[in-house]
Amino acid sequence: MAKDKLMLWGICLLAALTAVPLLAILGEVLLRGYDQLSWSFFTEPTPTAYKAMKAIEAGEPIPGGIANGIIGTMIMLGMAVVVAVPLGILCGAFLAENGKNRFAQFVSYLTDLLQGTPSVIIGIITYIWVVVPMKGYSAIAGSVALCIMMLPLIIRSTEETLKILPASLKEAGLALGGNNARVMMKVQLPAAFGGIFTGVLLAISRVIGETAPLMFTALGCSFVRFAVDKPISAVPLLIWEFFNDPNLQELIWGASLFLLLFVLTLNILSKYLAKKWNQ
C-alpha cells in the first residue's frame, strides 16, 4: 500500500513538473517582453542595427517595432490559406468518400508522410521549386512553404470530421434525390464546418511560428513591404534576426510575446470552439 501511495505521488509530482516549462516560458517572455509592447512596436518597422546601437549608447529604448514582420506574416499566411483551405477540404472530402480504394489509401499515406516531414526540408523544397526559378527570395515562396505545411493538417481534419458525421445524414440527403456533389456541399460540409474550421485554426497556429522554412524562402526585409515577388519579413524571422544581432537583442522579447500570445490564443480558441460545436 505504501508503494501504491508512493507511485501515485510520484506520478502527480512528475506530471505537475511538465507544467513548469510552460509557466517558465510564458513567465519569461511575459516579464521581459511586457514593457516593449507599445503602439509603435506594432506600427513601426525594425530599426537598422546602427540606429539601435546609437539608441543603446544614448541609453534610450530601441526605436521601431515589428510592423514589417506582422505585415509579412499576414500576407504569406493569407496567400497560403487561400490555396491550402479549399485544396485541403477537397482532398479531405476525397479521402472521406473513397476511404477504402487503393488510390485513396496511397493519398492518405502521403498525407502522413508530408505531415511528418521536417519543416526545414519543406524550406529546401520550396527553395528549389520557387526561389531558384524565380531567381530570388519572395513572399510567394514563403507562402508556398506555409501552404505545403498546412495542407496535410487541413486534409486530416476535414477527413476525420466528415467521417464522424452520422451516416444517416448523407443517406437522408441522397434519399431525397440529391447527387453526391450537392449532398456534400449542402449537407455534409455545412455539418462538418465546426471541425474543419477548428482544423484550419490549428493549422494556422502550427505554421505561424515556423522559422526555418521561411529563412530559405521569404528571407526577411527590414521595412514594410506589400510586394509578393520580393523578399519579405515575418515575425519568427525577426526573432531569429534579433537573436543573431547583438544590437537588436532587446527586441526579441516583445516579438516573442506577440507571437506566443497569438499562437496560444489560436490554440485555446480552437479547443474551445471544438468543445462548443461538439455539443
Partner: protein, 255 residues
C-alpha cells in the same frame, strides 16, 4: 384489378452483402397503390435491407449486390439512375435526421435544394405550409420556421423528416422503423398521420412492432432469414396465418 399495374413490384429480388450470403432471397410481391404495407420479421431477417433496395441505397456501398427486378410503375428501377429513383421514392429513417445546419423551413425544402431546383418565394412558402400541414406540424412550428430543425422534439423531428420527403411528391414513401426512437405519444401521432397520408402516397413501412403493423397497415409481409414467408391482408395474417413460422412469430415464440 388485373389491368392496373401495381405501383411497386418485387420480382425475384435478391440482396447480398458477400458472395456467400444473401440477406434477401428471391422476394416477389406486388404493392398496391395508396396502401400501407408493413414489413415484419425478427431482427436480421432482411426487412430493412429489402426496403433500402427500393430507393437504391445499396448503391452507396460497392460490395452490396442487388439482383432480380424491382418495378416502379412497371419500370425496373435497378436499371434507372439512382437520383431519378430517389426523387420518386421518399425515405424516412429510424432516427430522425433533420439536417442540423438548416432551419425548419430549409429542411422542408432541402429536397429541392439537393436536386438543384429553384423555387420562387411564393412557391417555397406554399410548399412549406402544405407539407408541414400534411404532417400536422404547421400549427406547432409556424412561428419558429427559422429555427434549426434540431430544436424540435423527437416526434416533431420525425414529422419534419416526413414533410421533407413529401415535399418532393414521391410515389412511394419508405419508412424504416420510423417510430422506434420515439415515445408512445409521439408514436401514436405518427401512426395517425400515416393513416391520413396513404391517400396521397403509397407507404411501405418496416416495423418490429406488431401492434403498429396491425393498427395502420392493410397489407403485411412477414420475412424470415431473408425470405418472404407470407404476404397478404394484415387482418388475415394476424387472425389466420398460413405459415407455421408466421404463426410462431406472431405468438411471440420467435424473437
Amino acid at each position: 384489378m388485373e389491368s392496373v399495374t401495381p405501383i411497386l413490384e418485387f420480382k425475384n429480388t435478391c440482396v447480398s452483402y458477400t458472395k456467400q450470403t444473401m440477406a434477401v432471397k428471391y422476394v416477389s410481391a406486388a404493392i398496391e397503390r395508396n396502401t400501407i404495407t408493413a414489413i415484419m420479421g425478427p431482427s436480421g431477417c432482411g426487412k430493412s435491407t429489402l426496403l433500402r433496395a427500393v430507393n437504391l441505397m445499396h448503391n452507396l456501398y460497392p460490395n452490396i449486390r442487388v439482383d432480380g427486378e424491382i418495378l416502379l410503375n412497371g419500370e425496373n428501377i435497378l436499371a434507372m439512375e439512382p437520383i431519378d429513383v430517389r426523387r420518386r421514392v421518399g425515405m424516412v429513417f429510424q432516427r430522425p435526421a433533420p439536417f442540423p445546419t438548416m432551419s425548419i423551413y430549409d429542411n422542408v425544402l432541402s429536397g429541392f435544394v439537393l436536386n438543384g431546383i429553384r423555387l420562387s418565394k411564393a412557391e417555397k412558402d406554399a410548399t412549406v405550409e402544405r407539407c408541414l400541414r400534411s404532417v400536422a406540424l404547421w400549427d406547432e412550428v409556424k412561428d419558429v420556421l427559422n429555427k434549426k430543425g434540431t430544436f424540435l422534439s423527437g416526434g416533431q423531428q420525425q414529422r419534419l423528416c416526413i414533410a421533407r420527403a413529401l415535399a418532393m411528391k414521391p410515389d412511394v414513401l419508405l419508412m424504416d422503423e420510423p417510430t422506434s426512437a420515439l415515445d408512445p405519444i409521439a408514436t401514436k401521432h405518427i401512426e395517425e398521420l400515416l393513416l391520413e397520408l396513404q391517400k396521397e402516397v403509397t407507404i411501405l413501412i418496416v416495423t418490429h412492432n406488431m401492434g403498429q403493423a396491425r393498427r395502420i397497415s392493410s397489407k403485411s409481409m412477414f420475412m424470415y432469414l431473408g425470405e418472404l414467408v407470407e404476404y397478404g391482408d394484415t387482418e388475415t395474417m394476424f387472425t389466420n396465418p398460413i405459415d407455421e413460422r408466421t404463426k410462431s412469430y406472431l405468438t411471440g415464440k420467435m424473437g
